[in-house]
């Protein structure tokens, strides 16, 4: 691990230690926050009992579906929009302000149309994540060096071969940024949507524990979500770092 990595780890451990101490010494009321060690113990017990399995499978499944749809359709829409400059000019202001609009306000509409099923949650995930992928695709396509088009012609490459063998790899770092953002946004949107839209899932389980004043369960679930989000993002960051190192660029 790098020196910066060790410092990062030390800061996290120190912060957890400080919270643990504050809880144990009753500086923080146990009805507000329980010690991190108790959160971890409760989480291990819950995972061992298997009582979370259905919720985990459901939530991670929905996140995977929402991310996949966002990446696939976001990439496809990005290609189409890039090929149509007038459409792009019309949509650019919309993209620039998209994340200033809380798309969550549309959840009553989603429930009215689709009911309390998986569909509105998936759609919330997609609605939050897809624009990040579209923007990343546009950025990636904009930054393909023009000389590569000439190289393709020198090698007598057709449009498909040029796209697959030169343009796609050239745009890959930006596309991967889109994938990373899509995962994060879909994660946030799905967990949040489950709070209000779902009969089950990790978000619903946290909401139920909160309503029941079951702090042990609530914090254990929150810890689980944090760990999963951190592990997934760290994995993607490590991949990004590896590819960026090869290309001599900085990870996005």
């Amino acid at each position: 691990m790098t020196r910066a990595g060790w410092i990062r780890l030390l800061v996290i451990v120190a912060m957890i230690g400080a919270v643990e101490l504050a809880c144990r010494l009753n500086f923080i009321d146990h009805r507000v926050l329980i010690p991190p060690s108790k959160m971890a113990t409760a989480l291990v017990a819950m995972l061992a009992s298997g009582q979370l399995n259905d919720d985990i499978v459901r939530t991670l499944g929905v996140i995977t579906i929402a991310t996949t749809l966002s990446v696939v359709f976001g990439f496809a829409l990005g290609l189409v929009i890039h090929a149509l400059p007038r459409l792009r000019a019309a949509l650019d202001p919309f993209f620039a302000t998209y994340y200033a609009v809380p798309v969550f306000i549309f959840y009553p509409v989603m429930i009215a149309i689709f009911g309390l099923s998986l569909i509105p949650i998936v759609l919330m995930g997609v609605a939050t994540a897809i624009v990040a992928m579209i923007i990343a695709t546009l950025n990636g396509l904009d930054r393909i060096p023009r000389v590569l088009t000439k190289v393709a012609r020198v090698h007598r490459m057709g449009r498909l071969a040029t796209a697959l063998q030169l343009q796609l790899p050239a745009a890959a770092p930006h596309l991967f940024t889109g994938v990373k953002l899509s995962v994060s946004y879909a994660f946030i949107a799905v967990i949040a949507a489950e709070f209000i839209l779902a009969p089950a899932g990790l978000g619903r389980a946290i909401a139920n524990a909160y309503a029941d004043f079951d702090n042990r369960r609530m914090y254990a679930l929150m810890l689980f979500v944090l760990v999963i989000a951190t592990v997934v993002n760290a994995g993607l960051h490590a991949l990004d770092l590896r590819w960026a190192k090869r290309r001599g660029t900085r990870p996005s």
Binding site: P145, R146, K150, R153, H155, A161, G248
Partner: protein, 275 residues
């Protein structure tokens, strides 16, 4: 003694159509010139005079507005002819591939047998002094070495006409001299015809058998100078008096054109001297 005509421009002009109400830009020509088999021909001229357009028309990357371009007796129309390799000024190496895979790219696209790919790529890397960097990625190399990767990628396809579009433009002066030696060695070994586009008069004077001095836009050849260098030559010729004479003569022809390109054509000589 000159060989057979390898590539020929006959009455070639290139006019870029005016887009969005702008007037059309007459970039090149009319050009009438022949490149002979196995010769090293360089083109120099002021910025924006149409040097790169000249190369791209010959490469088939641009269509002439009028006139014809032929390579080995066949008209160049709309696509890069077989046997033509191009090295661009911009870094055109593929950052996602190793040096070895960069060089193998064209051979693999041609469907060359893997054993043959291996042999030819290894040879090209050895020739360009890149053998120890086969597994490196372009980002791990200097600008000069990345350009050598691009030259190796072109060389491995055994082109009969090599077009170099300011390939050393982004390199420092010393590296450019050394790269010039590499190109001369490549030219001698392959026997290919080489067209070099450059803004550096000394580079053109050192490398070429003939140097075409191009006017400000629209680019036309105002003089084609024979350098008279022997085929066996390297960068040490820059110390010879003839080298100074050639570059001096080129500058004499191009100074006025360069001033025109800068928009100083109407200034009196005294004002020009003061600048």
């Amino acid at each position: 003694m000159r060989g057979d005509v390898h590539a020929q421009f006959a009455g070639v002009t290139r006019v870029y159509p005016g887009a969005g109400g702008h007037t059309p830009v007459h970039a090149l020509g009319p050009i009438d010139v022949a490149l002979h088999k196995g010769e090293f021909f360089a083109v120099v001229g002021p910025s924006g005079c149409g040097k790169s357009t000249f190369l791209e028309v010959l490469a088939g990357l641009q269509q002439p507005t009028a006139g014809t371009v032929t390579f080995e007796g066949h008209a160049v129309v709309g696509e890069v002819p077989d046997g033509v390799g191009v090295v661009f000024q911009e870094d055109a190496s593929f950052p996602w591939l190793t040096v070895w895979d960069n060089v193998a790219f064209g051979l693999r696209r041609r469907g060359t047998a893997p054993s043959e790919v291996r042999r030819q790529v290894d040879d090209a890397l050895a020739f360009m002094g890149l053998r120890n960097f086969a597994k490196a990625y372009p980002s791990q190399l200097s600008g000069g070495m990345r350009q050598r990767v691009c030259i190796a990628r072109t060389l491995v396809l055994q082109p009969r006409l090599i077009l170099l579009d300011e390939p050393f433009g982004a390199l420092d002066a010393q590296t450019r001299l050394l790269m010039g030696d590499e190109v001369l060695r490549l030219w001698r070994t392959t026997g290919a015809t080489v067209l070099l586009i450059t803004h550096a008069l000394d580079e053109a004077a050192m490398l070429a058998d003939r140097v075409g001095a191009m006017s400000a836009r629209p680019g036309r050849f105002i003089e084609i100078i024979e350098t008279g260098w022997p085929r066996e030559r390297d960068s040490t010729i820059v110390a010879e008096p003839t080298f100074g004479e050639i570059t001096g003569r080129l500058w004499e022809r191009l100074r006025g054109e360069s001033l025109k390109a800068l928009g100083h054509a109407d200034l009196p000589p005294a004002a020009l001297a003061a600048e």
